[in-house]
Amino acid sequence: MIDEIDHQLVALLQQGLPLVSRPYTVIAEKLKLTEDEVLVRVALLKQRGVIKRLGVIVNHRRLGYRANAMVVFDVSDILIKQIAEHVSQFSFVNLCYQRPRQGEPWPYNLYCMIHGKDRQKVLLQLEYLKESCGLKQCASEVLFSKQCFKQRGALYQRSSDKEKSVING
């Protein structure tokens, strides 16, 4: 369903769409396809949900969003879907994931991200979120980010073209 050319196409899209009038011709040339063929493939990848979104990807930190909190909760496995869907509806929540608990050292199964400009404001938003979603009794931790050691678009590389697609290191 996803062939080798799709993999190469995704690797190129991850590097960013060229800033020229006909950006897909640049990609088409690299893949030895026509512009139309590339557009059809991109549309299909979007339709299948492989490409979650295509567009401008902003740099939060550069835009002043430095209070970046990952919040983890230990919530009931039965209620998690319901709770997570509620959490996702708040405009200040940027991501919401379920991940496996890892025993006593890390008993959390629900993760959400709040990007803010001000730490106090983020903490107030979190309190509001906890209250609104019935999370006040759940064990939770707030992890603000400090140093960024690496941040780039995910590399989707086949082992064969590792060198070719390394970008934005």
Binding site: L17, V20, R22, R53, I57, V58
Partner: protein, 151 residues
Amino acid sequence: MLSPLHKQLLNDFQQNMPLSATPYQDIARVLGVTEDEVLLVFQELQDKQFIARIGSVIAPNSIAVSSLMAMSVPPEKLQKTAAIVNQYPEVNHNYERENRFNLWFVLIAKDDQSLQEVIADIELKTGYNTLYLPLIADYFINLGFEIDFND
């Protein structure tokens, strides 16, 4: 500092980038400016690193496998350990967070076996165990990021 056009280009096309042969021309038409202006401002936003890129966000685990990883590293060893982790091309994000688990990174590999091999190698080279926290479900629907330019 940012003009209305800069702000619109930052905010309005995170999700709804036109999928056509001429996306920048389409954007220009929507905003009532020229294509050259759109290209110029996007270039400037990229040069100043307000935009990481104009490109795709791939659904987790759709064409590769990935996982969030966490490590608990003594503060004095953090820089060195982060540098070792950064050397792996499989690592995309790598952050320090304020917690006893203070190093958080995302790994991506072509299949589960490769992923587990990289994890084993990272644990060996750094000398620290990892928490393996792969995605089970993604509940987030409202994609993109609404920028508040007011403060």
